[in-house]
Symmetry: C2
Subunit: 107 residues, 2 copies
């Protein structure tokens, strides 16, 4: 959904209600901004890089971009909405779609 | 150069002597491990992703892997030698080669 101007970031109750739909993610405080975080495991560096590219493609299509940290054997993904300085419903949708990409890759 | 077993991480003097050759990098304490860090700027997310793939290719060829954090408009690269729990001369070589890849991409 488009993020309308004037909208504000989700509050604690709103976050808690949506978090049950993406149980593998947790709420993290990345510096000072609240974000959704999940660390994904891979058997090596190369597979992690493939995943970064898949999530990167999704990010470009949706014009909503995460922060991703690629290391040997794992990728940490963080979603938040820059313009709100916090979480929007869209971040939870992106988290769920990131989970789907991971499941497809691991199949 | 191959990293021989029995070698130890560079000490402060050794780090200082090599750091002059990669002046855009600084020594960072990533958690508890000393590493070389540089944040590279890009005009958008997509260009950062291209760079992550270039550095990833180099890492696979050399079998020495960095940690890379991709965000909209920047990529932070960290090099260190896991088996030494610190910095090896090779990390400075990889940092210099990362700089070269960035220069080529920005040309």
């Amino acid at each position: 959904m488009p993020c309308r101007s004037g909208e504000s970031a989700l509050d604690e109750g709103g976050i808690r209600a949506l978090l049950v739909h993406v149980p593998a993610w947790h709420v993290d405080n990345n510096g000072s901004v609240v974000c959704l975080m999940r660390k994904f495991a891979f058997k090596d560096f190369k597979d992690g890089l493939v995943f970064v590219n898949l999530v990167g493609e999704l990010a470009e299509v949706e014009d909503h971009h995460p922060e991703m940290t690629l290391a040997w054997g794992n990728v940490t993904v963080r979603w938040w909405t820059y313009s709100l300085g916090g979480l929007h419903r869209n971040d939870f949708i992106m988290a769920a779609r990131t989970d789907e990409l991971y499941s497809q890759l691991m199949r």
